[in-house]
């Protein structure tokens, strides 16, 4: 049985905890605290250490799902958790002030996870804010990181089918890269793949 450790990253309020709750087959371990920073995200609680859940994909792949805190002040947890991870689902909130900028910031921060396995971007709350579109995210990725191949989805983190599609895409990418053992540095530059889950 193959095992994967996948991080769910992204800024505060993007839906990381919800996504793990949706996907996990086991009771999710949560470390939430009362949120005193309502200016950044208007919600009651926020993750201050990690979320943890598990899911089995197919008959062979067990995936350990770790949600990380979204705030920079918890970046020590990012360092701890990414040591074992092979990939990341990067969630961004489409109605944030600068979701494209936040995506690029997190992508830079977790670049080593891309090199090690893969990253998939999942934009949430596109029902609230129609822009940026998937094409906008892809264009920004192509301009800033033409060497990366990062699928982009729009998702509702409460919808299991959509989150499974995102996760399976990431796991497939990781397994393909392992199979071919192609160093990212030697890969030819290519356009980001684009997929839409909604």
């Amino acid at each position: 049985m193959a095992e994967h450790v996948i991080l769910f990253g992204g800024p505060m309020g993007a839906g990381k905890t919800t996504a793990i709750e949706t996907l996990s087959e086991t009771e999710v371990v949560r470390t939430e605290a009362a949120n005193t920073d309502r200016a950044t995200a208007d919600k009651d609680t926020t993750t201050v250490a990690l979320d943890y859940g598990e899911i089995t994909l197919g008959e062979t792949d067990k995936v350990r799902l770790y949600g990380i805190p979204g705030q920079q002040r918890f970046d020590f947890m990012w360092t701890i958790l990414k040591e074992r991870a092979k990939g990341m689902v990067l969630l961004v909130n489409n109605d944030a002030a600068d979701p494209v900028g936040e995506m690029l910031t997190f992508l830079d921060e977790f670049r080593d996870l891309y090199d090690r396995g893969g990253v998939v971007v999942a934009a949430t709350r596109s029902d609230v804010s129609a822009t940026p579109t998937v094409a906008d995210y892809s264009a920004a990725l192509t301009e800033r990181r033409p060497d990366l191949v990062v699928p982009v989805f729009t998702v509702d983190p409460r919808e299991e089918d959509q989150m499974r599609t995102v996760l399976m895409t990431l796991v497939a990418n990781i397994e393909m890269r392992e199979m071919f053992s192609a160093p990212a540095a030697s890969a030819a530059p290519s356009q980001p793949a684009v997929a839409v889950a909604e």
Binding site: V29, R30, T31, A33, A34, T36, V48, R73, F74, F76
Partner: protein, 166 residues
Amino acid sequence: MSLAPHLDPVVVDLGRRALLDMGEVSRSLVYGSFLTDDGFEVVHVPDGKVDANRFASMASSIQALSEAVAREVRIGSSEYVIIASDKGHVIQLRVPGHPVVLGALFDDDETLGKALSVARRCAQQLAASLADRPPVQPDAAAHEPDAAVEHAGAPARADAHGVPAL
């Protein structure tokens, strides 16, 4: 909407007094800090010993993890956290009834038992001080800065752990 503890000057002042009193009782206190559940520093003493914001964030994570473990193994609520090392120990515990955590670093001159005792007393002192804080009168509130008015008039909000906001 009530003021967050780290933005409330009354909480900061009462917290500083409680930390200074703890330092008087225990000379081996290297560093003490009150922090919010979500990792914002409320107040610390003394300056310059530790990266205050970093300590608050890490203490918040450790507190939440310890409580998650206690829940997982069904041993009730976590009362305190101890990190013991050969050069000292860190003790963390909640301020009763408030979404605030005390984190205290002692050197190895202090016994763990005494450090735990003074830390607990410090947390209780802040809780008692907050309970005794005088209510703001409506007339007085009209002349206070906006923040004070907002704090006085706001209903208590339950946090993730079921305790009212300050």
